[in-house]
């Protein structure tokens, strides 16, 4: 792992300006605008019809009742029922349509995001960090889904109810409407105040919750240490601190949010009372009819509900927009590993490193002036302390990163000029703690390459895996648990080696991948490789001398630099450190 914390400060990949955070989401929404317009019309129709109901009520009471026409009462009543049904249908249909639309939008967005994450360069992945990429793909897309979904439903309904309500009341009785509009700014103020103060409070509570979860996690993973040191009481105290802090923050946020309902209810009811008082004057003066006031009371309730919706929307939007921004950052990350022109230089070497320098953070060198050449079919062993740059060589060879200086060639072709598909087709790789997933053993070896069954079985034999696979209940069809948890360390490594071998690679890379094998199996594996894969160029990174001492060339690294290069015999004479490692590990006085 690389210490990336230091250069996170001036993160070169923090794209996306605050203003354009929703732009990316909009790109996904755009193709559905027509359907959304249709949805809008349906929804608009349904909602407006609903708005007419209180007005119809006032018409019955003020206009029809005095006329004493019973038939007309039934007629208008029937009309009201009909309108209710239309409103129901319109809203249900519109909601379904919008759910479908958001399904499509988010499905596509997730697909693109996943694809983009797959295509990010390793440097970009390091900068974003894996946990952050995971949460962008999971909880952020979830929040975005909620946002798109709710915005289509409430986001349309609330403004229609609000504006429509005001317009309809205007038509019925403009003066009373003014009373209503007068209370709106106050209600808006409550919403604004609560959201502005409340959202940061919830963010704070959230971070305390994260702390609490972290504490539990620590205690579960470290249970042996804590018990051995009898620190349980101490840990209880520590947890209590976090727990109390969280409870306090939650209470603070909760108390503020609890203000919303009573305050809005109060304002609404005061407004209602005012409508009655002002209405009394209007009726007295002959400008209005009593039924209108009744209708007004209904509109008031509708408008208040719409306002509540707006306040809820505000919260959803804040949350969703933050997520949309995080998604956009990934989607907008530029491609940073490009394929250049083919650059071929004839020679007899299969892998060539010439004066390669590289640093992950551009501060401390991870590889300094590295040169080596190996021919086809040869084996290169790399040994050295942790952090000396062993794995970095592998990462450069696979072009996960581009070197800062020097050049790397495979069969005379400069790495940067080989298209990725061609380049990656050459390798069989096993990394440290490599990736096994929940699928059959067969699939794990095949790794989506559609190899023949013969190839896979043969690879398993070479990798010393055939025997234990045969002993499993369903053989090759046995399903592995997540991360291969139902295998021992040595079994995992053997399956991974089988995966690397199955494609009959031009270059085989084993990065500390036989550490969990006992010496006997390790030796057997090396024997088989020599026999069946004599044409394959092999690069082995190891901690154990016994894994690399028979290599054609051995590279001894220390602190990013080569301190020894040659065969085992040569190094025993020329390289003091190598001799030391050999002596310590093999218990031989050399």
């Amino acid at each position: 792992m690389v210490a990336i914390a230091t250069f996170m400060a001036d993160n070169p990949y923090s794209y996306g300006k605050a203003g354009s955070r929703m732009k990316t989401l909009y790109i996904y929404i755009k193709p559905h605008l027509r359907v959304m317009l249709l949805q809008f019309v349906v929804k608009f129709g349904g909602t407006i019809i609903e708005l007419l109901l209180p007005w119809m009520l006032s018409t019955i009471l003020d206009d029809i009742v005095p006329s004493g026409n019973m038939k007309k009462v039934y007629l208008w009543g029937g009309l009201m029922v009909l309108c209710s049904i239309f409103a129901l249908l319109g809203n249900v249909i519109a909601n379904r349509m919008s759910t479908k639309t958001s399904k499509k939008i988010i499905g596509k967005l997730r697909h693109d995001l996943f694809k983009k994450v797959s295509a990010l360069s390793c440097r970009q992945t390091d900068t974003f960090t894996l946990p952050s990429l995971i949460s962008r793909m999971t909880s952020d897309t979830y929040n975005a889904h909620q946002l798109v979904d709710r915005m289509q439903r409430l986001g349309v309904r609330a403004p229609i109810l609000l504006l429509g309500g005001i317009i309809v009341t205007m038509l019925i009785e403009p003066v009373l409407t003014l009373v209503l509009i007068g209370t709106l700014p106050l209600l808006g103020l409550v919403i604004w105040y609560v959201s502005r103060k409340g959202i940061p409070m919830y963010t704070e509570a959230q971070s305390s919750l994260d702390k609490l979860v972290n504490k539990v996690q620590e205690n579960m993973t470290g249970v042996r240490v804590i018990k051995a040191l009898s620190k349980s009481e101490y840990e209880k105290g520590k947890f209590d601190e976090v727990n109390l802090e969280l409870a306090k923050k939650e209470q603070r946020a909760g108390m503020l949010m609890a203000l919303t309902n009573p305050a809005m209810n109060l304002l609404l009811n005061i407004g209602l009372t005012l409508v009655i008082v002002v209405g009394a004057f209007r009726v007295h003066g002959g400008f209005a009819l009593p039924g209108k006031i009744i209708a007004f009371l209904s509109y008031f309730t509708i408008i208040l509900n719409a306002l509540m919706m707006v306040s809820r929307l505000f919260l959803i939007y804040t949350k969703g927009a933050a997520s949309a921004k995080r998604i956009a950052e990934v989607l907008e990350a530029p491609e940073d590993i490009m394929t250049g022109d083919r650059d071929h230089k004839p020679g007899d070497y299969h892998i060539e490193f010439r004066d390669v320098c590289f640093s992950y953070n551009k501060i401390r060198s991870n590889i300094l002036n590295l040169s080596f050449c190996i021919k086809r079919g040869e084996t290169l062993g790399i040994i050295g302390p942790t952090g000396s740059g062993k794995s970095t060589i592998i990462q450069l060879l696979l072009r996960f990163y581009d070197p800062d200086a020097g050049e790397i060639r495979i069969s005379g072709d400069k790495l940067s000029g080989i298209p990725p598909e061609e380049l990656h087709g050459k390798f069989g790789v096993v990394f440290q703690n490599d990736f096994l997933y929940e699928d059959t053993i067969y699939e794990n070896i095949d790794f989506g390459r559609m190899l023949s069954e013969k190839q896979i079985k043969k690879a398993a034999v070479t990798a010393q895996a055939a025997e234990f696979i045969a002993e499993r209940q369903n053989g090759f069809q046995d399903i592995l648990a997540v991360k291969g948890a139902n295998l021992s360390g040595g079994q995992k490594q053997r399956i991974l080696i089988a995966r690397a071998l199955a494609g009959n690679p031009e270059i085989l890379i084993l990065d500390d991948s036989s550490s969990a094998l006992d010496y006997k199996t390790d030796a057997e594996l090396r024997k088989m490789l020599k026999r069946d894969f004599s044409d394959t160029t092999t690069v082995i990174v190891a901690q154990r001398v016994s894994s690399i001492m028979y290599a054609d060339k051995i590279l001894v690294l220390d602190d990013a630099q080569v301190i020894g290069y040659g065969t085992h015999k040569e190094l025993l004479f020329s390289c003091e450190s190598y001799k030391e490692i050999y002596r310590v590990q093999m218990g031989v006085v050399g």
């Binding site: 792992m1 914390a5 009520l57 009462v73 009543g77 009201m80 209710s84 129901l88 759910t99 399904k103 499905g107 390793c122 949460s135 909880s139 979830y142 994260d210 972290n214 539990v216 205690n219 470290g222 240490v225 018990k227 040191l229 620190k231 009481e233 947890f239 209590d240 727990n243 109390l244 409870a247 939650e250 609890a258 203000l259 309902n261 009573p262 209810n265 009811n269 009372t273 009655i276 008082v277 007295h284 039924g291 959803i316 302390p385 942790t386 996960f400 990656h424 087709g425 790789v429 990394f431 990736f435 997933y437 790794f447 989506g448 494609g503 006992d518 090396r526 901690q543 030391e580 218990g587």
Partner: protein, 613 residues
């Protein structure tokens, strides 16, 4: 994993979107159900300590709602005062009722805010004590619990489940109470206005009940489907990102995008199915409201025409009818939320009910100033009592001796350590330290007589200083630095911007495995117990560093009884006794020379490392 929706009413019922890797429902804790009454009784215990608060809340809740119910009635009177029409409005009455309305509403709002505050306080206290109880229980549970349960499950209990209970207590209880009062209150009010008009509800109430039942039956399975599909997709993403370099190396990105697409489609489709139904609720509730409005209008108008009812009464009736049918629909939501809260409470209680490590016997000895004489006689043990994996093991480790335990990974080498430190109890036989049976000692003094360095380096969120000083109280910086120097990590620590005050966190300093191990070695060096356990202690340290810290390791081992679990055979040749573990049981025991002479498993393993191709 920050999908933990905050307790906004808007997001309720959908709070567990299968976030992160923690599957919804807490996996292993989904065992036979506890009786609902038992759960309620236990929850009541938490509430009981706040019974006065609760009583006050009850009074305020009832009071506030009753006051609010008077409002529409008063507005009805006011409208009646207006009803005579042009020039005949009875202004003194209008003013009087308007004033009364404002007073009542004001008190009612005040009550409901105080009530909300009380409930928040109450639920905060309950949640705080639940979290405390759950964590304290965790601290007392035997190691076997942690070997059996996934961290994610427990975390989801302490965060999501307790949160669900919390939300339910602070919202649902109040909601339930107010809805009940509102429904009965408006029912009574409407009855006093016009029993005949009530017939309207004989029509609409059955519709809403039928709809609610239909909905809850259909929607719940759809929502649990949604959670599980989302959980599957999230799990896939987590799995995949862990292996991205491999996919890149083989150029298999497309294959995994296709696999992801399937999961994605399943997740979005199940979301669509669930939301389709859920999104019907709003319009349907509105429909029932509108329907009753229409019916009240028609029948009200007819009655008005026949002089059976006043205009103000119709107005009050309309307002009450809105209050009346709303909560009936709410009930379904509240009940399903209560159900999920009960399920959550059950998981929490089950965690709290887990059996802790049995307490030390009353007459347990405090182990003090020991010399480290460890004896195992005829010890038998199996994690599963029916599957004995250690049979009659006898071993003598006199003070200062070195016992090595070797064998392939996963063969069960740590079992012996588990027994020595009483992380697990043996089935038969006896383990003694300085002649005392370890079951007669306090666990604390027994465990403190061991120092251990494990392969899984455990560091916590805190400064480097705190991490090294963790095992001992009152440690000075000098002590810590001395140990860090011996562990060869001092210079690295100094190179960090904050030195020993650097905070170790997930996204802060990225220590390598080796560096983490060196920190735990430094931690061990600070302790001065007589028995040392090294479980592959240097497996993550490279040979050179290992060589460098060897003298420190040797001084750490000097004079102590050491149990060393090792992979590299070269490190154990000098052991006084070597235990060879194969498939969970002890295959061989003896000194290096004895075992080599025997020509068994050990000699085979030993020879393999020198075998030429």
């Amino acid at each position: 994993m920050d999908a933990r929706g905050k307790t906004m009413r808007a997001n309720r019922g959908q709070r567990r979107p299968g976030g992160g890797g923690h599957g919804p429902g807490g996996g292993a804790f989904e065992r036979p159900t506890v009786k609902t009454t038992t759960i309620l009784r236990r929850l009541w215990k938490y509430l009981y300590s706040f019974k006065w608060l609760l009583l006050l809340a009850l009074i305020l809740g009832v009071g506030g709602n009753l006051l609010a119910l008077v409002g529409p009635k008063l507005s009805g009177y006011a409208i009646d005062a207006i009803a005579p029409g042009v020039g005949k409005v009875n202004f003194p009455d209008v003013y009087r009722y308007a004033l009364l309305m404002i007073v009542f509403y004001l008190i009612s709002s005040l009550f409901s805010y105080i009530l909300a505050g009380l409930m928040i306080r109450l639920s905060r206290n309950v949640v705080y004590s639940m979290r405390r109880d759950a964590f304290n229980k965790l601290a007392e549970l035997p190691v076997s619990f942690f070997d059996k349960h996934k961290t994610g499950d427990v975390i989801s209990i302490i965060s999501y489940d307790i949160d669900t209970v919390n939300a339910s207590l602070s919202n649902d209880l109040v909601q339930m109470l107010t809805s009940l009062i509102t429904v009965t209150g408006s029912f009574i009010m409407m009855m006093t206005i016009s029993p005949k008009l009530m017939l309207v509800f004989a029509f609409t109430v059955p519709i809403s009940i039928l709809f609610t039942r239909y909905r809850s039956k259909r929607v719940r399975p759809l929502f649990s489907m949604r959670s599980s599909k989302l959980g599957e997709m999230n799990g896939f993403v987590e799995e995949y990102t862990g292996g991205m370099k491999t996919t890149k190396a083989y150029g298999r990105e497309e294959v995994f995008v296709r696999r992801f697409d399937q999961k994605n489609e399943a997740a979005t489709e199940s979301n669509y199915q669930a939301e389709c139904f859920a999104s019907m609720t709003g319009p349907s509730v509105n429909f029932i409201n509108n329907l009753s409005l229409a019916l009240v209008s028609v029948f009200g108008a007819l009655m008005y025409m026949m002089g059976g009812i006043s205009l103000g009464s119709i107005s009050s009736f309309v307002l009450y009818s809105r209050k009346f049918s709303g909560p009936i629909n709410e009930f379904a939501n509240i009940i399903s939320e209560l159900q999920s809260a009960l399920a959550a409470a059950e998981r929490v209680l089950r965690l709290i009910d887990e059996k802790p490590e049995p307490p030390d016997a009353v007459d347990s000895l405090e182990l003090q100033d020991i010399c480290g004489d460890v004896k195992l006689s005829e010890v038998s043990f199996g994690y599963d009592p029916d599957k004995i994996i250690i049979q009659n093991l006898s071993l003598n480790a006199p003070p200062g001796s070195l016992i090595a335990i070797v064998g392939p990974t996963g063969a069960g080498k740590t079992t012996i350590i588990n027994l020595l430190m009483r992380f697990y109890d043996i089935q038969s036989g006896r383990i003694s330290i300085d002649g005392h049976d370890i079951r007669e000692l306090t666990r604390k003094s027994l465990r403190l007589s061991f120092t251990m360095v494990l392969q899984d380096t455990w560091l916590f969120h805190g400064t480097i200083f705190e991490n090294i000083a963790y095992g001992k109280d009152d440690v000075t910086l000098e002590d810590v630095m001395r140990c860090a120097r011996s562990a060869r990590i001092h210079n690295y620590i100094l190179s960090l911007p904050d030195g020993y005050n650097t905070v170790l966190s997930d996204n802060g300093v990225n220590l390598s495995k080796g560096q983490r191990q060196l920190l735990t070695i430094a931690r061990a060096m600070l302790l001065d117990s007589r028995i040392l356990v090294l479980d592959e202690a240097t497996s993550n340290v490279d040979t050179q560093t290992e060589r460098q810290i060897q003298s420190a390791m040797l001084s750490l081992m000097r004079g102590r009884t050491c149990f060393v679990i090792a992979h590299r055979l070269s490190t154990v040749q000098n052991a006084d006794r070597i235990l060879v573990v194969l498939d969970g049981s002890i295959a061989e025991q003896g000194s290096h020379d004895e075992l080599m002479r025997q020509g068994g498993v050990y000699s085979e393993l030993y020879n393999a490392q020198f075998e030429a191709i």
